[in-house]
């Protein structure tokens, strides 16, 4: 069972993601509301996968991704954003993201991304 850390400032988005991952038999080991909390929780929990929103207060998702990848190069980070413009996708992938999915998403989209990252 994959252990997943969800990083998103929206309670609603975290709730939807939690439901989707639970349907995929994953364990939600932690939730964070901004990039800084996400980085701190990553260090503590070292999950199999992190889902990272991009636009967040305190520390944005791409900055948090870079911090995590610097300290933990093997980290698997799935970027999740409402704004799926090409430049956002490219910046995330260049910064070390394993995959990128746009909101709104559902079980199938997350499952495809999960399979491509973890298998």
């Amino acid at each position: 069972m994959a252990r997943v850390l969800i990083v998103d400032d929206s309670r609603t988005s975290r709730k939807i993601l939690r439901k989707v991952f639970e349907e995929l038999d994953c364990e939600i080991c932690g939730e964070a509301k901004n990039g800084q909390e996400g980085y701190d929780l990553y260090k503590e929990l070292q999950p199999d996968l992190v889902t990272m929103d991009i636009t967040m207060p305190v520390l944005d998702g791409v900055s948090a991704l870079k911090m995590i990848k610097t300290d933990f190069p093997e980290a698997k980070v799935l970027m999740v954003s409402a704004a799926g413009q090409q430049k956002n996708v490219l910046e995330a992938i260049k910064s070390g993201a394993s995959e990128f999915i746009s909101k709104p998403f559902n079980v199938e989209a997350v499952k495809q991304a999960l399979n491509s990252i973890l298998i």
Partner: protein
């Protein structure tokens, strides 16, 4: 879609009571069968294909039939047959009015002419309403404002997403332009880049958006309720910027602001487009370019 507009008009002039109006709208909601369900029943699609199209529909701003056509699951002829079987919302509403003995066809025609004049709709716009053409309906209700194509495109997408995620019988009213707008609860998000747009939603209809989008009951407009409606706005705005970027216009989303006390926006030419979701009013707010102040 047609029934909520024409039914509201008939209620306002006293032809329908509010209870009868609600009953007829409920019957219209219950009678409509999804195209996917019809296609499976008719043996045109198997379950797995319908599910696949349904899945893709959640990710793309497209109708079931258009996705099924693009995947060669249905032919144009099959889709046309299914849409005929599904029935037209306008005809369904008219049928209910006559079946219930409320109006004759001649009376309906007369009221329809008056309704069109009252709403300041052209014949083409009334036809768009009858066939539930959301883009043209939204355009009809913002035509009095001198908005850019970009804002028009945004409002059409927001209209389609309200139908997709919140209420497929959303009713718009004519927009107005103001320099100052105040509401007790409001969610605002700025998009900046090649141009600047401030977009938001306000008033009690926010609760309906939150409940339908998050599939959760909210008994008051609290932080969680605003968060859920804010996520709907965020997703819509993100989708808008993604479409724009494909056409060479680049803008970024700022964090959205959630306001749960009386808040005022001051700017030149704020567009307010009122809409009703399950009867609750929600104002859609858009400012383009220029400066704005939020207090």
């Amino acid at each position: 879609m047609f029934g909520v507009y024409f039914g509201k008009y008939l209620t306002d002039i006293g032809v329908l009571t509010p209870d009868t109006y609600s009953e007829i709208i409920e019957k219209c909601r219950n009678n409509r069968i999804e195209v996917g369900v019809l296609a499976v029943n008719e043996g045109m699609l198997i379950d797995a294909q319908a599910n696949e199209v349904n899945f893709l529909q959640t990710m793309h701003d497209m109708k079931f039939g258009d996705i099924a056509l693009s995947m060669n699951y249905l032919t144009e002829e099959q889709l046309e047959e299914l849409l005929k079987k599904q029935g037209n919302g306008y005809l369904q509403f008219v049928q209910l009015l006559t079946d219930e003995g409320i109006l004759t066809l001649d009376e309906i025609q007369e009221h329809l002419n008056n309704f069109r004049k009252n709403e300041k709709l052209t014949i083409a716009e009334l036809d768009a309403l009858k066939r539930a053409d959301v883009d043209m309906v939204v355009s009809a209700y913002i035509k009095s404002a001198n908005v850019s194509d970009l804002v028009k495109e945004y409002l059409c997408l927001l209209g389609r997403n309200l139908i997709r995620f919140v209420d497929n019988r959303v009713r718009f009213e004519a927009c107005n332009i103001t320099d100052s707008y105040t509401a007790k609860c409001m969610i605002l998000q700025e998009m900046t880049g090649d141009t600047r747009i401030l977009a938001g939603i306000a008033d009690t209809g926010i609760t309906v958006v939150a409940e339908e989008y998050c599939e959760e009951d909210f008994y008051e407009i609290d932080e969680d309720c605003l968060d859920a409606a804010g996520e709907f706005l965020n997703v819509t705005n993100g989708e808008f910027l993604t479409k724009l970027s494909a056409n060479g216009t680049h803008m970024d989303l700022k964090l959205h602001g959630m306001y749960n006390t009386y808040t005022t926006i001051e700017a030149k030419d704020i567009l307010i487009l009122p809409c009703y979701l399950f009867g609750e009013r929600m104002d859609i707010i858009v400012c383009e370019g220029g400066r704005w102040e939020i207090n």
